[in-house]
């Protein structure tokens, strides 16, 4: 018993003025008080113990969390660096894709430049002769004749200038294609853009492979007029779809030569608040299991080295950034009865808001 309570109890027992009942009642109260005191002391002691342990645990936990925080920070820094590297690699890949498509265009561009250059060469040859003739006439004193020749010469020079500019425009277009997009939308003649890329792609393939041939059909809706797009970007999408279309018809031609006429058609359509660019081929078609993946980055069915697998993925991103969509309808060549040449093929539709 608590010594103070024990002392009180002893005094109570010695007190003669208290009755036995009173002493018993006091003793009971003292014992209860002692019990409660004991419980309180125990609780206090345990609370102290737990408090001390909790403090230690808290301190250790804070230290542990601090270490974890540092580790997370380090991981975070490493991840950020990886992300930067990934972004750089991605940018490089996009550039490679651009350069790859530029490669596909080179032969077409060369063909396109060759025409104006032929004109320039021919007209400059003719002009050289005309200058000689003019000098002869001046020597003879036939100034009127000389003036007429000078007039022809002037016309020749205008033609040289015209064709020179044409070549210049083609080069400018090529540079624009390879340059990083300015991101600025410009009023663009979508029909002219589609037509130019169709021809460039065709001539490009013809230049590489003389046996290649495909009929080209075009149907442009002239009511479209000018629409606001980023021409380099949409140009790349159109070119990519046309190149794929030519590839598909070539592949089918390899399998089925008799009675097969490869056709690639490009058409445009104006609907209420949107325009559509259709790129259609009667090639091999896309198998269903492949169809789900065609817009995934790095997915390609072309042999190694022939495709980056980024073309359709980038096209998808570009069209999406324009607020539009790319739709695809396809029918596979495999499984169709022999002779049903017109059924198979793929049609990509670029839908752009206006």
């Amino acid at each position: 018993m608590n010594q103070h309570l024990q002392h009180i109890l002893t005094i109570v027992h010695q007190e003669e003025n208290l009755s036995a009942e009173q002493k018993e009642a006091i003793e009971k109260s003292i014992k209860n008080a002692d019990k409660e005191l004991e419980i309180t002391a125990f609780k206090l002691d345990r609370t102290e113990k737990v408090k001390r342990t909790t403090a230690i645990l808290l301190e250790e936990t804070i230290e542990e969390l601090e270490q974890k925080r540092k580790a997370i920070e380090e991981t975070n820094a490493a991840l950020t660096q990886s992300l930067e590297e990934l972004k750089a690699a991605q940018a490089q890949l996009i550039q490679s894709e651009k350069m790859a498509s530029l490669g596909e265009l080179t032969a077409g561009i060369a063909h396109e430049i060759q025409n104006p250059l032929n004109f320039v060469n021919n007209f400059s040859d003719v002009s050289t002769e005309l200058v000689e003739e003019m000098n002869e006439e001046i020597d003879k004193g036939n100034l009127e004749e000389a003036k007429e020749i000078a007039q022809d010469l002037k016309q020749n020079l205008e033609k040289i200038n015209h064709h020179g500019k044409r070549a210049g425009d083609i080069v400018k277009g090529m540079l624009q294609h390879s340059r990083t997009s300015s991101g600025q939308k410009e009023l663009t003649d979508i029909n002219a853009l589609a037509d130019e890329y169709l021809r460039l792609a065709y001539h490009g393939l013809r230049a590489k492979d003389k046996t290649f041939n495909a009929a080209m059909k075009t149907d442009y809706d002239e009511s479209i007029g000018l629409i606001k797009i980023i021409p380099q970007d949409i140009g790349r999408v159109v070119l990519n779809l046309i190149t794929n279309a030519f590839y598909a018809v070539t592949e089918r031609k390899k399998l089925q030569t008799e009675g097969y006429e490869p056709v690639v058609s490009v058409s445009t359509k104006k609907l209420n608040d949107k325009i559509e660019i259709h790129v259609k081929d009667n090639g091999t078609g896309i198998p269903q299991k492949v169809l789900d993946k065609i817009f995934q980055p790095f997915f390609t069915t072309k042999p190694t080295g022939q495709g980056t697998g980024l073309g359709l993925s980038l096209s998808y991103d570009i069209v999406k950034a324009h607020g539009g969509e790319i739709k695809v309808n396809t029918k596979e060549n495999d499984g169709l009865p022999a002779g049903t040449v017109a059924e198979a093929g793929t049609e990509f539709i670029i839908v752009l808001p206006v």
């Binding site: 609780k43 737990v50 342990t53 909790t54």
Partner: protein, 387 residues
């Protein structure tokens, strides 16, 4: 069924109290005996043999009847249960054979009664209790006529007044410091209902057991397990000369909570520490890769929780009881101290039936939402009622 709870400080005293309790013609058939290792259980066995009473017994880390906590004494719960309704099995065992031995016990139970309930106690300080539960379930489940997959298992692991040297279980004429004693009861005749409640609260961050083998934990978060415990909880180990493995009583306050899939976490106490290996020897299995948390003793109001959960059993499953048995972890006693009496009193008052129990080194039972399992730091109450 009539029950009486008696206690004594010596064989002589208990003998006299026992004789006194039978003066009115009361003839017990079964004595559930919990006593201190200081007492002579062989003498007790002889005493009960003489009176034709079957014995289920275990040494303790403190024993109690009806809310009265004793130390160094003998307590008995006497029952006049029809001998046809129960059977006592005694099996010597080892860590290696524990599972197989428990299977034998499960089969024995099923062969004796259609619906047996197992009240078990085991000795062996460092013996893991999990294989016993798993083995009984395995043995019971494999019996061809088994219809009920959940077998009732309650019990406790014997103590030795916190010496952590040798514990004993015993029955008539048999005792061993590495054995399993089982009281198999016919549940078609006697209702056996109970609950295991804990209350220890998880604290701190989740940690991973990075190296363990059975019940030995070598590393936590790749750091020596013993150092982790000492650092985080500020506990110290007992300095004993020339001994690598030492008792680790101070950690009993702060056991590990082992998280498990789809069931409540299980508590595992580090009973011993290996100073050389810096490892912990736990009271039960701690799987490698397990997620664990440290835990703190419950608030004093957890007594109310125990009482409320027992009341739940009374209100729903067992409105009346002839007798109560309690297996309460010694760490509860260490942690609740003088307040422990309150818990015992309040639980006993719920049914107002004779109660005997002991402070154990491990408990067997089922929590409110869990399955039958081996626990630590738990209070496990069993209520018996003849149908």
């Amino acid at each position: 069924m009539k029950a009486k709870s008696i206690k004594g400080k010596s064989t002589e005293e208990i003998s006299s109290v026992l004789t006194e309790s039978m003066v009115d013609g009361y003839q017990p058939t079964l004595a559930i005996v919990f006593l201190s290792v200081k007492q002579d259980w062989e003498a007790i066995s002889k005493l009960l043999d003489e009176k034709g009473i079957q014995l289920f017994g275990a040494t303790t880390a403190g024993e109690f009847i009806d809310g009265e906590i004793e130390g160094g004494s003998i307590v008995m719960l006497l029952l006049d249960m029809n001998p046809a309704y129960f059977k006592i099995e005694f099996l010597e065992t080892s860590q290696e054979t524990a599972f197989k031995d428990a299977i034998k016990l499960g089969l024995a139970g099923k062969e004796t009664f259609t619906n047996p309930a197992f009240i078990i106690a085991n000795s062996g300080v460092a013996l893991d209790g999990e294989p016993f539960v798993e083995g009984i379930i395995e043995g019971f489940g494999k019996y061809p006529s088994s219809t009920d997959s959940e077998v009732t298992i309650f019990g406790g692991k014997a103590g030795d007044d916190l010496a952590l040297e040798a514990t004993y279980v015993f029955t008539n004429g048999k005792s061993n410091n590495c054995a399993l004693v089982a009281l198999i009861i016919d549940e078609d005749k006697i209702d056996v209902k109970g609950i295991a409640t804990c209350g220890w609260q998880a604290i701190g961050t989740t940690k991973t057991v990075t190296k363990s083998e059975g019940n030995i934990v070598y590393t936590i978060d790749d750091k020596p397990a013993l150092d982790m415990l000492m650092n985080y909880l500020g506990v110290e180990i007992k300095q004993e000369d020339n001994k690598d493995i030492v008792t680790f009583l101070s950690s009993w306050y702060y056991p590990l909570q082992v998280e498990r899939e789809n069931v409540d976490p299980v508590i595992r106490t580090a009973m011993f520490a290996n100073r050389e290996e810096r490892s912990l020897i736990c009271s039960g299995k701690v799987p490698q890769g397990a997620k664990i948390k440290f835990s703190l003793p419950p608030d004093f109001d957890s007594i109310d929780k125990v009482v409320a959960e027992c009341k739940g059993i009374k209100d729903n499953a067992q409105p009346q009881a002839d007798a109560l048995i309690m297996f309460s972890c010694v760490s509860r006693y260490l942690s609740f101290g003088v307040v422990m009496k309150e818990e015992l009193e309040q639980v006993q008052k719920l049914w107002d039936a004779p109660m005997a129990g002991f402070f154990s080194y491990g408990e067997y039972g089922k929590s409110k939402t869990g399955k039958y399992d081996y626990h630590n730091n738990t209070c496990c109450l069993v209520a018996l009622m003849e149908k």
